[in-house]
Symmetry: C2
Subunit: 247 residues, 2 copies
DNA sequence: CGTAATTTTGACTCCGCTCAATTGGCGTGG
DNA sequence: CCACGCCAATTGAGCGGAGTCAAAATTACG
C-alpha cells in the first residue's frame, strides 16, 4: 500500500509535541488566519514531523504525491530536471513556507525538494487537508491563498527571468532574501547563503561565473560585502537603485 | 459596494442558457471530473457570461478580485507590468482554460487579462466556488488540481526562461500551442497566431526581432511555413529535435 | 591532512539585443 | 475605391552582455 521512494515511511517520525499553537511559524504557515479554537483541529492534519540531513531529498519528482510539507527549520531548494538533464532551480524555501504543492493536481510530485542544511518539516497528508478544509472555511481560504501566492511568486520569477538583466536579477534575489529573513526575525543585512553559486545561477537563469562576478561587482560598488557564503548588505537603497536604473 | 474598474457589473450580462452540461469545454474546465448529476449544481456557480471585444481587458492588475473566469471562446493573454513599465506576458489562454486565479490569495488581481480576439468567458464568482467546493468534494479536488496545474505550467515556463536558448524557446512555444489546439479539435499543424511577435517575445524572454528571425530560420530549415500570423508546422519531429539538440 | 568541491578571475567568443531601414497589411476617411 | 497613415513584421549591420574555456585560489569534508 505504501509505495515509498525517497520518503521514509511517514508513520515512523516523532508524532509527539506537534503543536501549531506553539509554533512561531504559525502565521506564515498553513494555519495562518485560523482562530485559536480551531488550531487543535489543525494539529490533526499535521500528522508528524520529519528531520532531514543536508543534501537529503524530502521528495523527488515522480514520487507518489501524499503530503504537503511545511518547513519548520532549515532551508530547501526545489528543482526540476528536463529530458536533457539540465537542472532548473525553481525556488528556495525557509521556515513557514510550504513545499510539494505542485503535486496536488497529479498523483506525483513535479519537482524535487532537497535540504540545503539540516532541516525539519511538518508532514501534512493531503487527504487530511482536503477533509479538514471542508469543515473549516478559514483553512480552506488559507489553503487557496497559499496556492495562489505560489502562483504569484512564480509570476515574479517569470518577470525576473523574462525581462531583467543579470545585475537586476541578483539584486532582486538579495532583496527578496533579506525581506524573508527579516520577517523571521533574522538580521536583514547579514546572512549566510545556504546555496552554491551554481544554484543561485540556475535559479536566476545565469551561469555560476556570472553570479560570482556580480557578487564581486556589487562589492566594488559598495553595495554588499561578500566572503564566500557570508553576505552583508551594506546599501539596501543602492541595491534597489540597481532595479530602478533602466539604462 | 461594487467597486467596478475594468469590469462591467457582473449582474448585467446574459444569464440565460448557461449550461456546463452542454458545454464542449467541460472536460478541460472547472467542472471536469464532476459526475453528471452534480453538473446542475455547478451551473449555479457559473453565474453569467461576458463577451469581450478584441483588445478589451477582462480584468486588470489591482482590480478588486471577485471572480475566476473560464474562457468559452476566443483567446487571451495575461501580463504584469513592473515599476519600470516593462511588460511581461505570463501566458496565453484558450477555450476551457481558467483566468484570474492569481487573485485568490489577495483581494486584488495580480495580472491583467486582455482579449486578443473577440471572446466570451464564463463568470464564476469566487465566493460561490468556495461554498460549492465544501459541498462537492469532486469540485474541491478539481479546483485544487487546476490551481496546482497552473503552478506546474509556470514551472515549465521558468524552465524555458531559465535554461533554454532562443530556438528552443520558440520550438517549445509552437509545440505547446499545437498540442493545446489539437485537444480542442483544431488542426495540430495549421493555425493562426492571435498575438504579435512582440507578445510572443515578451512571453519567451526575447525581443520581437529575435522572434521574427527565428520564424524565418525555422522556415529555411523546413520546420514550419510562416506568413505573417499564419503558421503551418511542416515537421513536428524536427521541432522536437531542436530541443534534443543540446550543443 | 589530502582530495574534491566551490569560488574567483581572466581572456575570448558568440548569441541575442540595439538601431535602423524597408516592406506589407489593414482600417479609416476623403 | 484609392490614398494615407499606422502598426506589425522582416532583414541587415554592428555591438555588448553573458557564456565558455581555463587556471588558480580557497574552502569543505572525509
Amino acid at each position: 500500500m505504501y509505495a515509498v521512494t525517497a520518503n521514509k515511511p511517514d508513520a515512523s517520525p516523532n508524532k509527539f509535541e506537534v503543536t501549531c499553537s506553539s509554533c512561531n511559524m504559525r502565521e506564515l504557515c498553513l494555519p495562518g488566519g485560523l482562530r485559536a479554537e480551531d488550531l487543535p483541529r489543525m494539529e490533526n492534519v499535521v500528522y508528524a514531523r520529519r528531520r532531514l540531513k543536508r543534501g537529503e531529498a524530502l521528495f523527488a519528482a515522480a514520487d507518489e504525491f501524499k503530503a504537503v510539507y511545511a518547513v519548520r527549520s532549515g532551508f530547501f531548494k526545489t528543482s526540476i530536471v528536463d529530458g536533457e538533464g539540465r537542472e532548473q532551480v525553481m525556488g528556495f524555501f525557509m521556515g513557514g513556507e510550504l513545499l510539494g504543492m505542485d503535486g496536488i493536481g497529479a498523483s506525483r510530485y513535479n519537482s524535487t525538494a532537497i535540504a540545503l542544511e539540516d532541516s525539519e518539516v511538518c508532514v501534512m497528508p493531503y487527504g487530511l487537508i482536503e477533509e479538514m478544509a471542508r469543515e473549516l472555511p478559514a483553512l480552506q481560504r488559507q489553503l487557496h491563498a497559499v496556492l495562489a501566492r505560489e502562483i504569484v511568486r512564480d509570476h515574479g520569477v517569470m518577470m525576473l527571468l523574462g525581462s531583467m538583466r543579470a545585475e537586476e536579477r541578483l539584486a532582486v534575489f538579495l532583496l527578496n532574501l533579506s525581506k524573508r529573513l527579516t520577517r523571521r526575525g533574522y538580521s536583514h543585512s547579514d546572512f549566510h547563503l545556504r546555496m552554491t553559486r551554481e544554484e543561485i545561477g540556475s535559479y536566476l537563469g545565469l551561469k555560476l561565473e556570472t553570479v560570482s562576478r556580480l557578487f564581486s561587482q556589487f562589492q566594488r560598488d559598495a553595495l554588499i560585502e561578500v566572503e564566500q557564503k557570508h553576505v552583508r548588505i551594506v546599501d539596501i537603497a543602492g541595491l534597489e537603485r540597481v532595479l530602478a536604473a533602466r539604462s
